[in-house]
Symmetry: C2
């Protein structure tokens, strides 16, 4: 078992982690246990979970519809009501079993139910394993604006069992891969190179990348839990990526992208801008773009799309005083913060992406 | 100026506190300032506030409908949307100018907007001055269940100016007085005696009681911020009081009570139960009941009402594992925690209240 121990939010990985969870449950002695799933994880992951964890009392299973469009306040209200009706009290426990939507939403629901009950994250998607379930950020979308409502509060612990990935459709695996590539970009060229060789069929290497990414994320958030500085690097590619994701989600005539697919585009754009404004080497930009496009679909944006996406940027949580600030790189693992970028530079980045 | 200084949640009282607020605003340098009012405080309190605080940029005023029935998630959603539309970012500040509904709801809205922006409480009702605005508890109701959704997070500071009380209808003043009496019950016979002499026309004594209550509440929550022990005494009378308040709010054919009016009844019931189960002296019970009934209306409850109120108790946040636990007193300032009380004892308490 690999593990990172902290006061709250300890992360346990693979062998031995289920036994550890059983111990934690025994010590915590919750009055009731609720397991939050979505329609997918209820079908594909619940059985494995129940097989691995002994419960004195059968836990209550709560189920939401799968998909980002259900990560809303109204889903939260339905869950708060269900928890109330089923007799949840302050000593109840919520276990979030699912991908990023389940851990983000479940974390918020638990953190604000009766001013906070304990919760545990069991990520079942690659994206949730390497990113969403770690670090205590939780929240829901407000209309098309992503993660506008939420708090920062760590789970009691995080249990990662990479065998859950076998239940995942390929495009969902690839979506999580975007965050591993991001860790390469913000951390080091060596981790980027390791990430470039990602192959889901190679379990040993995939496990190494999952744990590598957990360690990188943990290092960053331990240094800067409240995002005053270095934690902002975890948003690399997300400023434009979120705007792209929101825009496509809002327009039902356009095909929505998975979170990682949108972030992949955002990272190409941010790396282009880094090369223009921050001396990121052009040759490495080439490699980054090639590597990303090898795994992620290329999307066509019209001028109208691009203008609308730029307009959405002002709602980004990382904007400040009406100005949109980007994290940029000068090389793998070397960043500068709070770069103000003009709209024309953003348009040139879309142009570069289109013509690549 | 009287003041209690802490990292967060510092409280400033009367003379000099507006000047202190101006300094705090200058140091904080928020990107935008929003002032949350309700329809009453916008009319009666906003002008005094704006006269006392210089702003470089005119703050945006947000207004909600007055009254407990608007302390909901849907009001929160409307405010989150308005904040987004008006360009609030993470460095924006929300100033809550109002009674307990405004400070409870505004604190929750700020704490969960973009994972937490700064907020300042400026209580304008007696209840908010001595109780709601202090201690970092915030939240909204879920259906008829009071404060089910919320978090604990302190405001940047609390500014109390007791001249706001001159704008308050008498029954609203009396509602806040219930919490001052509660502080007497849980703190000491001497503070109870001082509280018994409350007279809103005597400004000097009223100010002394406001500050006395702020100090008592501050002492309790400093010792036990997360309500593992002594903080539970602040719920004295609230277990039944909340259930009574919720029940009457739910039944539109019955006259709703103000929070303090419901808590006043809850305190008589809890003190009767204390005398039955916890040796609270009968002679002092007599005094407590007389004192409370001198200021608060007596309400008639049918057997059906009482049964429904008892049923609501299981949703109380302080219940644990399906059992309702009361804080009881053995004397002024001496409490015991987690007393499990039978329904028949609760019925006898209502009987005592009815026949007094």
């Amino acid at each position: 078992m690999k593990k990172i121990i902290k006061d709250r939010g300890a992360v346990y990985f693979n062998e031995g982690s289920w036994a550890t969870l059983s111990n934690i449950l025994e010590n915590l002695c919750p009055s009731k246990v609720f397991v939050l799933t979505d329609t997918n994880t209820k079908t594909h992951c619940l059985e494995l979970f129940l097989k691995n964890v002994p419960f004195n009392i059968v836990p209550e299973v709560l189920t939401i519809s799968a998909g980002e469009r259900h990560k809303t306040i109204s889903t939260s209200v339905a869950l708060w009501s269900e928890l109330s009706e089923k007799g949840a009290d302050r000593r109840s426990l919520l276990i979030n079993l699912g991908g990023g939507v389940v851990t983000d939403l479940g974390g918020f629901v638990a953190s604000s139910f009766k001013r906070g009950i304990e919760f545990i994250n069991i990520p079942t998607s690659l994206l949730a394993m390497v990113d969403a379930s770690i670090g205590g950020k939780n929240g829901v979308d407000l209309g098309i604006l992503k993660n506008q409502i939420g708090v920062i509060r760590n789970p009691k612990c995080v249990i990662i069992d990479s065998t859950f990935l076998e239940t995942l459709p390929e495009e969902q695996v690839i979506s999580g891969y975007a965050e591993i590539l991001k860790h390469g970009l913000i951390h080091s060229e060596s981790y980027w190179n390791a990430a470039s060789r990602f192959d889901i069929k190679n379990k040993v290497e995939t496990d190494a990348l999952i744990w590598g990414s957990v360690e990188i994320k943990n290092e960053v958030i331990t240094e800067d839990p409240n995002e005053h500085g270095r934690r902002k690097t975890l948003n690399y590619g997300h400023t434009l990526g979120h705007a792209i994701e929101s825009y496509l989600l809002e327009h039902s005539n356009k095909e929505a992208l998975l979170h990682g697919e949108a972030i992949a585009i955002g990272m190409i754009l941010a790396t282009y801008i880094s090369s223009e404004e921050n001396a990121f080497p052009k040759s490495k930009l080439e490699i980054v773009t090639q590597t990303i496009l090898r795994s992620f679909p290329k999307v066509t944006f019209s001028d109208i799309d691009i203008a609308a996406i730029i307009k959405l940027l002002i709602y980004d949580k990382k904007n400040d005083n009406g100005k949109v600030h980007f994290v940029l790189l000068s090389d793998f693992g070397s960043h500068t913060m709070n770069n103000e970028i003009s709209n024309s530079t953003i348009k040139k980045a879309f142009e570069y992406y289109k013509n690549f």
